[in-house]
Amino acid sequence: MSIPEDDEQDVTTDASGRFTFRKGKWAPLWALFMVPFLVIALPLYRFVRAEVDWAAAWITVIVFEALLMPVEWYSLGRGHWVYNEARILGPKVFGIPIEEPLLYYLFSPIIIICIFHAFRKREGKV
C-alpha cells in the first residue's frame, strides 16, 4: 500500500467525534513549507507590485478566506482530509490549523496573482 493508504488506517476519532491522526515526531512542516514560497514570492512581489491591483487582490484574499474556512471546517469534520498533529504548529481556529488562515489562505492568492502579473508584464512588453 502507499503512504496515504497506510496512514488512513491510523486515523481515529476523539471524544467529540473529530478525526485525529498523529504520526512521527513533532516537526511543524506545514508551516515551514510556506517559507520557500515566501522566499520566492518576495522578489516576485517587488517585480510586479506596481502592476497588481491591490484592492482586487485583497478582495480575492477575503473571498478565499471566507469561502475556505467553512469548507475546511466541514471537510475536516467529515474526514475528507485529516492533518497529522505532529506536522502542524498546534493552535487551531474552529478546529482548523492556524497555518491555514494565517499562511495558506493569505499568501497563496497573493503569490498566484503575482505570478499572473509577472507573465502579464512580460506580455505587455511584446
Binding site: I3, P4, F19, G24, D53, R78, H80, F119, E123, G124
Partner: protein, 111 residues
C-alpha cells in the same frame, strides 16, 4: 456519497465556469495569455507539492463518513487534484473579476 469530490466541484469548478462566462470576454489578449501561462506553471507545481505533503505526512484521509471516488494517482486520491487544480483558476478569475468590477473600463487598469 463522494462529498469531498462534490465539494471541490461546488467550491471551485462551478464558480470557475460561472466567472469565466462573465470575465473571459472582457479580458485583453495579454491577460488571457498570462492566465493560461500561469495555470500551466501552477498545475504541475501543485501536483508536485501534493506529493511532497503526502510523503512528509502533513495529512491523510478518512473514508469513515464519506467515501472517496476510489481513483488514485500513485496513492493520492483524485479529489486532491480536483481541489488543487481548481483553486488556481478560481483565485485568478476572482481577482480578474474584482479588478473589472472595481475599475470597469479596462483602460483604467494598470498594464
Amino acid at each position: 456519497m463522494p462529498r469531498y469530490f462534490i465539494i471541490t466541484i461546488l467550491v471551485f469548478w462551478l464558480p470557475v465556469i460561472a466567472l469565466s462566462f462573465y470575465i473571459w470576454p472582457r479580458l485583453s489578449a495579454p491577460d488571457k495569455k498570462a492566465f493560461w501561462i500561469s495555470i500551466l506553471v501552477l498545475t504541475p507545481a501543485t501536483f508536485a507539492m501534493e506529493y511532497v505533503y503526502i510523503w512528509t505526512r502533513i495529512w491523510t484521509f478518512s473514508q469513515a463518513k464519506d467515501p472517496l471516488l476510489g481513483i488514485r494517482l500513485w496513492g493520492v486520491p483524485i479529489e486532491e487534484f480536483s481541489f488543487w487544480f481548481g483553486a488556481s483558476p478560481f483565485i485568478l478569475l476572482v481577482y480578474l473579476t474584482a479588478r473589472r468590477l472595481i475599475h470597469g473600463d479596462p483602460a483604467h487598469v494598470h498594464t
